[in-house]
Amino acid sequence: MEIMIILLPLALFLGGVFLAAFIWSARKGQYDDLETPRFRMLLDDENKVNKTTIVKDGK
């Protein structure tokens, strides 16, 4: 049972790491919008729009 001396701190440490990661990501606002990203990832990044034809004056 001496293995417990290693296992216990290890379990606590791992749990702590994941909890810290969760707290960090929640504070960073990773969970603020839970709806849009699942749609956004479906869109390709490649720009099918031909930029030269649509340059418009911003003014």
């Binding site: 379990a11 839970l34 709806e35 749609f39 956004r40 869109l43 729009v49 930029k51 418009k56 911003g58």
Partner: protein, 780 residues
């Protein structure tokens, strides 16, 4: 059934691109057609490719915009209030009307490519809010113009950073509470199970210490909302479910420490942490689902977002574009055809016709001339008029309606919900039982056992199942309903709907399509469509618009008109190719000879009759409620099978509301702004697909699929949901009586308590997930 190329609405009267005839792409309205052409022109055709492969998020057609220049947005005063700067960049949030699917997301986020000066554009599809960042070369007026060109009506959102930031902060902290509770509950299990399995001596001490370590943040930080609510309830002298929960938590913690201290192996920390975690998470999801709906607050400013032409110098006939917020009493404004009036006032120049359907539900336009009063929210149909402003903002008639809607919401939310009502009796019973158990054991002579058992009883009868079952059942029903296209903003809707007796249905736009259509067109002449199109396209009367729509795809040549005249209240006339034509009284006349006849009607939705029958069959009395005249309303009622004594006609928005108030347990289905008050006043308000934004906000439920059939679904769903809730309550009361009996017989021990608590929650969970037979049929 043909669907619109752009918005996927069912096309009733097709619009077609002239030059695109070979491909025959149908559109439901001019707005969709314009947006299609715009997208094509700027090379964003892939919108349709994306849309084809994406599930429709919520169906809503693009919004027609008045071609406003949005100049007021660049006004420095406006910018300080509506935007905020981050370094070199300016950020503004726009609420976009008309967001409906993945393709919209793609389009909105393509803005930096389309428009110079835009750094980034991010859309929150759930809130329909786009956050746009521009640099010094960009202008927000251009951004707004581009949005409206793409078919979304933009409303700049006030940079209410405070309230928004506060909301985000609250949301994040509730997530953190759940996270901490979940992590602790998970970890604590390892040690608790070891303890139950018989860990002893040194390990027992270490493990007990660890469970306390994990339980502390859960019982303090994560459970804080329960203590807060309980405290508030006590201060307000009411009872809430949070009181027994807090009681159980505090007593459980106390007993846990006591057990560890005196060396009893079992402590309650594992059950308590799991309980806190489950409760927090079920509340979080319930709140999330309800937030999906549009809020009723901040209503008024939505209707102040189009710019107005204000006279800067009336003698020189000079006008500047300003935001309606800056209008004052006595200002002179110019109202262009098709514009919506932004303030109440008096006409001082010009004659025109106003469409007040938005306010009153009257479908016929009203003529106005110098000296007449005009109201904010009505649309100018005919020609420009000059108006002297008498009332602005919240003082206008529209402002008052909006205020009523907001009030309706606030008084409605005070209804005591089911959970609180039950917990009232529950708390009292449990406390009484605990006291009597204590006295019972005390009389037998053992103070220590009496004390321990009374406390154990309090923990075991802890309302876990009770507190869990109701939010869980509601959450499941609400989320399933939203998959069926029914967005329910408030869980009390289900409870109220299950007691429903009367259903009120607005006529225009709900039972009918809400759009005039030409029916039974008969003619022997082949070129009659050319004539109709030419003559009627000069008029902006609703009948004329219907005729234009009808004749446009059918006409072959353009013809020249002379001596055109629109006779108000009669029709139009003009000379074409030497003949004199008149269009009036449902006919086309060539030199006073009738050459074509037609009927103009707002046609009834195909599914209305069946839905009305289904509602009647489920024991409800169905009423029709309309601002239209008796004849039209009664004919419609007759066609859909509503009894004549249940027709209510000629009603103003305020009268509708008082009519519904006469009938208790009523549900109102409507769409227009004129329904907004009654939607917020009725026990349950349902806004149908295509309803005005104000109605969507005023109603507690809105439908994203067409027709009345979803209303039938809500009625069934609510009855079934209440059945499941009753079953769950029975189950948890069963468990509780069992444990109370065990406690009185002296059978209860901490270990039994630790088994009963999660078991009762699990039973409730399974019962909720299984639902009822009718529910399972609905989900299919």
């Amino acid at each position: 059934m043909t669907l619109c190329t752009h918005c996927d609405e069912v096309v009733l009267v097709g619009h077609f691109n002239r030059e695109d005839e070979a491909k025959l792409r149908p559109f439901c309205c001019f707005g969709c057609q314009t947006v299609f052409n715009t997208l094509h022109e700027i090379g964003l055709d892939s919108y349709y490719e994306i849309k084809k492969n994406s599930a429709i998020y919520k169906r809503r057609s693009p919004v027609e915009s008045g071609g406003s220049e949005f100049k007021y947005i660049d006004d420095p005063e406006f910018l300080t209030e509506f935007s905020y700067s981050t370094g070199q960049h300016l950020t503004m949030e726009f609420y976009l009307e008309g967001i409906h699917c993945l393709a919209c997301l793609w389009l909105v986020e393509k803005l930096p490519v389309i428009l110079k000066g835009v750094v980034s554009s991010k859309l929150d599809i759930e809130r329909s809010v786009a956050t746009v960042v521009i640099d010094s070369s960009g202008q927000f007026s251009q951004v707004a113009k581009e949005f409206s060109r793409l078919g979304y009506r933009p409303h700049p959102l006030k940079n209410s950073q405070d309230s928004q930031a506060l909301k985000i902060k609250e949301e994040r902290s509730s997530l953190l509470r759940i996270g901490v509770a979940g992590a602790s509950a998970g970890n604590i299990m390892i040690y608790a199970v070891s303890l139950y399995a018989g860990a002893a001596d040194r390990y027992a001490e270490i493990f007990n210490g660890l469970t306390i370590l994990f339980a502390l943040p859960v019982l303090t930080y994560s459970a804080y909302p329960f203590y807060k609510n309980a405290w508030n309830a006590i201060r307000n002298k009411t009872l809430s479910i949070d009181i027994p929960i807090s009681l159980a938590l505090v007593i459980g913690a106390f007993m846990g420490f006591y057990n560890v201290f005196v060396g009893i192996q079992e402590n309650y920390f594992d059950s308590l942490c799991t309980l806190v975690f489950l409760l927090l998470i079920s509340r979080y999801f319930l709140q999330k689902i309800q937030e999906r709906g549009l809020a009723a607050k901040d209503l008024h400013f939505f209707y102040l977002n189009d710019s107005v032409l204000k006279a800067s110098n009336i003698e020189l006939n000079e006008f500047v574009e300003v935001h309606p917020k800056f209008l004052k009493t006595g200002d002179i404004i110019k109202v262009m055809p098709n514009d919506f009036l932004a303030a109440d006032g008096k006409v001082i120049k010009g004659i025109s016709k106003m469409n007040r359907a938005f306010l009153t539900g009257e479908s016929k336009p009203v003529s106005v001339e110098v000296g007449d009063e005009v109201f904010s929210g009505s649309q100018n149909l005919f020609q420009e008029i000059i108006v002297e402003v008498s009332k602005t903002g919240k003082d206008t008639r529209l402002g008052q309606i909006l205020k009523n809607v907001e009030n309706g919401w606030s008084h409605r939310s005070h209804l005591i919900d089911l959970t609180s009502r039950i917990s009232k009796y529950f708390t009292l019973t449990v406390c009484l039982l605990a006291i009597s158990l204590f006295l019972f054991r005390f009389m037998q002579g053992d103070v220590k056992i009496a004390f321990e058992q009374a406390l154990t009883l309090l923990i075991v009868t802890c309302p876990c199942a009770l507190a869990l079952s109701i939010p869980l059942t509601f959450t499941r029903s609400l989320s399933k309903a939203s998959k069926l296209g029914i967005i329910i903003k408030n869980d009390s809707v289900l409870e109220k709907t299950s007691k429903l007796k009367n259903v009120f249905i607005d006529k225009t736009g709900t039972l009918t399509h809400g759009k005039l259509q030409i029916l039974d067109f008969e003619t022997s002449s082949h070129n009659v469509f050319d004539i109709i199109y030419a003559l009627e396209s000069l008029s902006s009367h609703p009948v004329a618009m219907a005729l234009v729509e009808y004749s446009k795809p059918r006409c072959q040549n353009t013809v020249k008109i002379s001596n055109y005249e629109e006779r108000l209240g009669v029709g139009v006339q003009g000379e074409i190719g030497g003949h004199f034509y008149e269009i009036k009284d449902g006919g086309v006349f060539e030199n006073s000879q009738k050459i074509a006849s037609f009927k103009v009607e707002d046609s009834i939705r195909e599914d209305s009759k069946k839905s009305v029958r289904d509602l009647t069959l489920s024991g409800l009395s169905v009423h029709i409620l309309s601002g239209d005249n008796a004849e039209v309303v009664q004919r419609t009622a007759n066609q859909v099978g509503i009894r004549p004594e249940n027709t209510h006609f000629g009603l103003t928005p305020e009268m509708k509301s008082s009519e519904v108030a006469k009938y208790p347990h009523s549900l109102m289905v409507g769409d227009g702004a004129n329904d907004a008050i009654v939607l917020s006043e009725a026990d349950v308000g349902v806004a149908v697909l295509g309803a005005m934004d104000i109605s969507l906000r005023a109603a507690e439920v809105y439908l994203t699929t067409p027709g009345l059939n979803p209303v039938v679904t809500i009625v069934t769903l609510s009855k079934e949901t209440m059945k499941v809730i009753r079953r769950n309550l029975l189950l948890s009361l069963g468990y509780n009586s069992l444990s109370v009996a065990a406690a009185f017989m002296g059978l209860i021990s901490p270990l039994v308590a630790a088994i009963i608590m999660p078991l009762s929650s699990l039973t409730v969970l399974v019962s909720t997930l299984v639902g009822t037979k009718k529910m399972r049929a609905l989900w299919k």
